[in-house]
Subunit: 383 residues, 2 copies
Amino acid sequence: MSVTAAQGFTAAGIAAGIKENGNPDLALVVNEGPRLAAAGVFTSNRVKAAPVLWSEQVLRGGRVSAVVLNSGGANACTGPAGFQDTHATAEAVAGALGQSAGEVAVCSTGLIGVRLPMDKLLPGVAKAAAELSAHGGEKAAIAIKTTDTVHKTAVHEGEGWTVGGMAKGAGMLAPGLATMLVVLTTDADLDSAALDEALRAATRTTFDRADSDGCMSTNDTVLLLASGASGVTPAAESFTAAVEEVCADLARQLIRDAEGASKDIKIEVINAATEDDAVEVGRSIARNNLLKCAIHGEDPNWGRVLSAIGTTSAAFEPDRLNVAINGVWVCKSGSVGEDRELVDMRYREVHITADLAAGTETATIWTNDLTAEYVHENSAYSS
Amino acid sequence: MSVTAAQGFTAAGIAAGIKENGNPDLALVVNEGPRLAAAGVFTSNRVKAAPVLWSEQVLRGGRVSAVVLNSGGANACTGPAGFQDTHATAEAVAGALGQSAGEVAVCSTGLIGVRLPMDKLLPGVAKAAAELSAHGGEKAAIAIKTTDTVHKTAVHEGEGWTVGGMAKGAGMLAPGLATMLVVLTTDADLDSAALDEALRAATRTTFDRADSDGCMSTNDTVLLLASGASGVTPAAESFTAAVEEVCADLARQLIRDAEGASKDIKIEVINAATEDDAVEVGRSIARNNLLKCAIHGEDPNWGRVLSAIGTTSAAFEPDRLNVAINGVWVCKSGSVGEDRELVDMRYREVHITADLAAGTETATIWTNDLTAEYVHENSAYSS
């Protein structure tokens, strides 16, 4: 499954020794064609890792023959030398596969501000190239894990074509909790413009609306590669829907595996004047540490929701706001509503509905609670 | 000390029974004149508590004869009934003191979305009025505590005049961690316009730049009352400097007592193109949960600082950024700088310097680390 569910792709995942604990840390995904169309979206952080700067250039050409991904180091804030490391990695892949380095995308994830051990990474590229297989998707997905507790894959079967993918990290494209990397593949016969359109539509409502901890990564990358191997050209709507389904699935898996989280929180903003308003309000609620702590404590503290809404520039009147938590309208007309004791918060998934009473637009943002485990994991991360 | 350090003020702090644990929960500060000049700044949250809506109206007149403050309930998101409770509280104070309710400011702090127990609050007003004293400042400061572990007061002695004050909460004016309330008093002979100018200048660089957890309160209020009792009219610059000194002192006390914090983090942004850029970058760093966790773990994780800077719209080039942690330039030219092992993070205060290399402006933001204790305190708060 994973990136090799679609025809025309091979992949591998190996331990190159980048991670000191010997876990798998290098993945290779190769588009065997006949087509080499590709599209990508990248972090909007202005401090971009070397592989992001490189891959943005590669994607400008709309063709990707291979993607090499390493965990164990983000190669971010590593200066010109770090960029040379990325370039050398792409050259090594190109050399091993007999392709052009200008069509090799590179993704890295791990600690910021540390050079990659190229003496381990480059031999790893050769080793991964030797292990490429049409069944290698699962191993590739495993090799890109960092703090992930499980690897993440998803597949959609279309009529004669397939979209599959893998993801690592927990968070959002922009911002991102940890470094989020996603590679999607399809055997649909589509050009890079069609892929780009589908990918942007899909990420806008999925990865872009998963906000685990409000922190934007330097490395976030989502790539979509098409081999054309099925010979089928699906209709734009059904292809976009398929990509969106796979992205939504992977985004949910990222949230479910977010560092230290004990609750997955679905924030649905309804009756907004504009979709932008709905997204702004959803994000503001998703990033409120006090609310995230309250949800962790299974406390339906709707006052935190109103406080968060109040910091936005969205259209609303404070005395018309309504908030439901797990279906109970605990806040009505900006004031006390149904009995908060009615809210059942025992389950992992928590559903917050914020009714702005200002229009007809809606947006859904996913986030997590804030836990002592998150603090522990992130206070001990690089030491 | 506290609000009674300046001549012409009396205060009291009593237990009215609003808090179930019987701790002091009601404070009264009275301006005995001869002048009743006042200025105030309030939360910029659009969801404002009833006492904020009320006090904003009162302050428009530039005269405040008394301030009544309660802990044990924020009276926020309580609808028209909550506003009537605030009005009734002001009337009770006015009745007890023989003054006009339109000159009585009201402040509340505690849980959002809960009505105040007026059957306890109103008798408490009479009790507090009976205990008013020129030495009551300390008791008033104690009565406004919520999750504060210590009460906070500060005094500046001018030449023949005094500025004193008290504060509760831990966080910022806008945003605020918890409900932040501050009452400052002076016996300087100044009108409300002069007070307003000094107060805005002082809060802009003090309370507005303390960002404990990025959450903006519905109740934040800072009031400055002048009695004119000293008969001295200080020069504008020296008076503003005095108010700023008292505000800075109280703001530091708020940060030092922030919920669950183990580190006070001073973020100095230097060489910014504009002061706004410096503040935006400082706030972005201050609100980065991953960095706050890293500092908690005494990990000089400068990559988190760069990631946070990268999310702003400030003028900078990624490869010209420099970051020092406790004086060690761990990031130079956007890449690895001095050895991170040189950074000594054993002490409570941590100093981060972010050099944008884009101009000459500067700003300092204070924040705290993110700890398991913060999560614990805020996940158990209202349950």
